[in-house]
Amino acid sequence: MTTTRPDIDVSRRAFAIGAASALAGLTIGFRWASAQAPQGGPPVPPMIRNNPQLDAWVRIAPDGSVTVMTGRVELGQGILTAMRQVAADELDVAPARIALISGDTALTPNEGVTAGSLAVKLGSTALGLACADARATLVGVAAKAWSVEPQAVKVEDGIMLGPAGQRMSYGEAAAKVSLSRPVDVTAKRKSPAEQRLIGTSYPRTDIPAKVFGEQVFIHDLRPADMLFGAVARPPAYAARLVSADLAAIKAMPGVVEVVRDGSFLGVVARREEQAQAAADKLARSATWDNGAPLFGGKGIFDYLLTADSETKLLHAVKADAPAAAVSHTAEYRRHFQAHASIGASCALAQWQDGKLAVWSHTQGPFPLRGDLAKALKTAPDAIRVIHAQGAGCYGHNGADDVALDAALLARAVPGKPVRVHWAHQEEMAWEPWGSAMVTRLAGGVAADGTLTQWAHDMWSFPHSTRPGSGQGCNLRSAWYLADPVPAAKAVDGPLPNGAAARNAVPIYAAANQTVTSHYLADMPIRTSALRTLGGYFNVVSAEMFLDELAAMSGRDPVAFRLANLKDPRLAAVLRKAVEMSGWTPGVVARRPLAPDMVGTGVGLSRYKNQDAYVAVVAEVSVDTNSGNIRPLRLWSATDAGRAVNPDGVLNQIDGGMAQAASWTLQEAGRWDRGIMTAVDYGAYPIQDFVTTPALASTVIDRPDQPSLGAGEGSQGPAGAAIANAVFAATGRRIAEVPLTPERVLAALRA
């Protein structure tokens, strides 16, 4: 049979030219002009401020071929399809004719990390503006040549047409004008009425290749002479290596090199399974000092509430309010939760003459490059990071860490490409987890049903410890080297984005409000960004609390929300989801136990208080004998402003609901003295076909409004709706996520 080998250039030439053939002939190494906002002019989009040159975003070759560059990367969210839609519309070029280059430190703008539902909001805004500027510039050349007004020039797939039948291609015009200048931020983007692709469910461009088994993923890269690497992991996070018999491992079948650098141990072998077998044996046969027990042996919620934390009042509103007729306080708890990607993290690295090329599914090629340079004690410009797709990550998983592992192992075999693909259990044990959290809420309701007071406190470990954060190095193996580079001190992100406090500012118009964080920067179990950061659990907590206030004041949860909402767009999505679900108003109360109890609940939020508006209604059944909760149906309504690709938004919203159902009902990390132990899908089950509820979702398109981040919008409301449906079904609150059968039974018996 034919054995295809990928056309990858991991030689020295990889530093000089692009990996994609479309880039042949382009030189690399942009000069970044200093960014300046014009006096009194329109605001400069943040990504343009960081990457002001027009030809950093779009290039037109003399033959008319179009290359568009984005720092954003495909994570399975369909972002490159959305970017292609935006570029094609603004340039008036057929989408299939655009060469789209993504996430390459040698070739694309630096857009930091692709995260936080910001790719469309920030990335497409910048790219759209650059493409609009490029189109106007090229049209200007033709208009001048033909002595006509620019408005008289039409463009059809990169060919400019004049009123008297004149024709000029973009390629001809590009030869007469330089795009090597700052983006003109006054360039006018097309109005919604002029857009042909933006706002349509243009089919994902990456799906056919994935359906036919073409080479798409980083795991599929197989350059000639590739070797396989694997890391021998310590038995505990705090463990340090005492001794290891490297010679015995070197003698194993296929082993090419055994690497020890401090407590970092790994192997390079000819075959993947040989590398894994050797690394397993190396880890087991080495002698380790295991270090201190996690959390000093305390329970996690006890630890969160009692260990040293930094308390900060983040938000306060004070106003006169009527006396509270109902006052209430509550505490909610959430366990550690994992990204649990189907494909473990993977990277390919090759050293050549002191330079390093790394293929990575990182969310941030540039920040990764910076942290690699720190760990490897080399200059950032000696490293090129090139994005290649991985399995969905849902936040900061092992993607960045494995890139350092590959670089450390490849350094032992200069010139040879080395691929490292973590084992699934390795990913689950060593990736950063989503933080366990405790929240406490206090509130009051006046006799007329208006909120008088709302106080939201949360105790949490960090939610963002990505590469590129501060002075240290946030790549795990760097901490185990003989000359270690410790992690940067974790800093909680400020509102309105927030990290631990994301979405803790109430969406309801309580007269008096506070949000207070209790931040534990030191994390015995490493934590970082899991889709929504603290947002999921802050929304779940707030929405659970709101339903308890509604019940205590004898009000229907939907009516109570509408009476206390100020934002009409939040009210609109709530009304829509409620209408879709056929909501029956009522007051939640304790009901006599029956074998199978069905209930309906609602959850509402505006992601980060500034992105997509999402309302979810959930219907669940509770088996009161087993304690098992079955989510039956979820209905959602989303307002993401101008939806660049409505089906893409729906796919994200639905997927987020299915994932959040799993988080809310079954996912919890467990650990022993020194390390996470629920590290496979048996011990850490995730959503499947039988337990995933039926989903019905609607996008309310608002073509006249800016695009809002949607990719993480449904997690909080979906979790809240499920928890509130259980509350409605039984009249009992289960205050600890996940809502496991044991906790359900305990609540029913209380």
Binding site: T3, V211, F212, G213, I342, G343, N651, Q652, G682, I686
Partner: protein, 153 residues
């Protein structure tokens, strides 16, 4: 040195007979379809057909294959020019996000349809239940299988 029949072609491989089929398919034969997922047979990303049955290639050592066993991977199921109905249905339904599990979804779903051309939704969900998708595309996958079965949307 052993002979394997993969996607209708006979190929020789020179590896330890204890080696899991997934490594041979991916690393020796440069096939991209089967994906290494959990490595424990729990997620289904590595699914291939052996003599028409869906099997987990991460749990199938070469020595467990019958002589002359016919292996079909996603690449052999259909192509852009001649797609299997389920491959076409996955495109029509946009039934994935990252696509890492897609190989297993299609291979397992195709095996179901070969066995049971008109499954009910409940039968589809039950059959597919040990194929995991972390992106949460279960409902779209069900729709794609229904579409390929000539049902539903």
């Amino acid at each position: 040195m052993g002979m394997l029949s993969v996607n209708g072609r006979s190929v020789s491989v020179d590896v330890d007979p204890d080696t899991a089929l997934i490594y041979v398919l991916r690393n020796d034969l440069a096939l991209n379809g089967p994906k290494l997922g959990c490595g424990n047979g729990l997620c289904g990303a590595c699914t291939v057909h052996v003599d028409g049955r869906a099997v987990r290639s991460c749990q199938t050592p070469l020595k467990a294959l019958a002589a002359g066993a016919k292996i079909v991977t996603l690449e052999g199921l259909g192509s852009k020019d001649k797609p299997h109905p389920l491959q076409a249905a996955f495109i029509a339904e946009q039934a994935l996000q990252c696509g890492y599990c897609t190989n297993g979804m299609i291979m397992e779903g195709a095996a179901l349809l070969a066995d049971k051309p008109n499954p009910t939704e409940a039968q589809i969900r039950q059959h597919m239940n040990t194929n995991l998708c972390r992106c949460g595309c279960q409902q779209r996958v069900v729709r794609a299988i229904q579409r390929a079965a000539g049902k539903g949307v």
